[in-house]
Point group: C2
Chain length 249, copies 2
């Protein structure tokens, strides 16, 4: 738990950037958001942030780092169903879904903040606009899910991978986590294979294709897009689904 003054100032910065990519947030709403946070915590890589099957009484806001929603199957394989970055209200879902049907795990060291469900309920009863922004946040998650379904079902693996890189780049840009065409990407290849739903070996070979085509580099934990235009074209990437336009919601 860090110092309360810090909490008031910095903890909601990335959430704010996220929300502001969709609509104007009033100063009063900003201060309400600040008051929502009653505790923050850091998780190490591979630590469970939310456990499958649990019924948390709070929701988790990702302040910094990468987290993944996932589900294990009986045969031990894993599918990652979403990647979350700074500013994502990771399990706002649990506020209404109650029982977690999947787990959330830290893909990098993660800094998270907690918000009580009772406070979210109060917000939903007194702050219609802010409630709609929260709702929208989960709707964008859904839109991303749909895009992933399209990618898994009908895109080639290289287009799928390219699409994911495009999406992450645009989402990270909103919360100021890019430098030029580069961004920090902490997943291992095994984990990325679990995102795309393919084997490690095949992911590795797909990656080689994008590298040989000089579309991107991935060195250490840094991805750099070398040719945004061609990458977008290969991925048939259309960012409409991310709803990154400021308009009344």
């Amino acid at each position: 738990m860090s110092n309360p003054l810090m909490a008031c100032r910095k903890l909601i910065d990335s959430l704010l950037l996220n929300l502001q990519s969709h609509d104007v947030v009033t100063p009063h709403e900003v201060s309400l958001l600040r008051s929502l946070i009653w505790r923050d915590r850091r998780f190490k890589v591979d630590e469970e942030i939310v456990v499958e099957g649990s019924r948390p009484g709070y929701s988790t806001l990702l302040i910094d780092g990468f987290a993944a929603r996932y589900k294990f199957l009986a045969d031990g394989t894993r599918q990652i169903t979403a990647l979350h970055i700074a500013g994502d209200f990771v399990d706002l879902h649990a506020f209404l879904l109650k029982t977690m049907d999947h787990g959330i795990v830290a893909m990098s060291p993660c800094h998270v903040a907690f918000v009580e469900h009772s406070d979210l309920k109060t917000i939903s009863e007194t702050q219609p606009h802010l409630s709609r922004l929260f709702w929208l946040d989960t709707l964008v998650d859904g839109a991303i899910h749909r895009e992933w379904i399209v990618a898994m079902g009908r895109r080639s693996k290289k287009a799928h991978l390219a699409h994911l890189v495009c999406e992450l780049f645009m989402r990270l840009q909103v919360v100021g986590r890019t430098t030029g065409y580069s961004f920090h990407f902490p997943l291992t290849q095994v984990e990325l294979a679990d995102v795309l739903g393919i084997s490690l070996v095949h992911l590795n070979k797909t990656l080689q294709i994008l590298r040989k085509a000089e579309l991107l580099t991935w060195i250490g934990q840094m991805i750099t897009i070398l040719d945004w235009g061609r990458l977008q074209e290969l991925a048939q990437f259309d960012p409409t689904y991310l709803s990154q336009t400021v308009e009344p919601r």
Copy 2:
């Protein structure tokens, strides 16, 4: 457009059953729901209910029939990202997402009702509980999306197909569209292949496996589950994600 008296009584029945599978709906909320509907309409098979790229000023409620969300890719392939049934608030999303990033098409003759976004906004400002139920409806959509991602990425094709049948059966049961272990299923095999993200030929062969294992029959437009236990087992189907438990939300 049908007679207003009919509209008041029957049009929201399936939506009501849907919402009531998650939480109690008060009589006042029921009458509000009735008053929301200002127009209904019937669509023929393959008619577009909502057009990709449009910015509708209303949302669409499916009263009866099957509809699909889909996206076409440049090479002409299609991926269906969701199947909607009676009682689904099909594009409640557009209320906050504004621009449709995908289309919605009738998979069977569909009876739909329209709700103005301005009325939804009023609801969101005066009816917190009803708003949360609407929000929940979209969250369940998201949970279904995640389950589809898992199925596409990590389940065998026959398990994927079995899982879909399990899911549809449980959803249709809630809105009273099953008879024993049978339900009406109007998709063609081409369309079902677009749901699973596989080729028609392979879908057909996968289907034979389930038929030969005597797990189900699909004759005409009627699917009958012959062995619910074994089907569920093959699919590793756990209905938690459908949130079909009545509790305060």
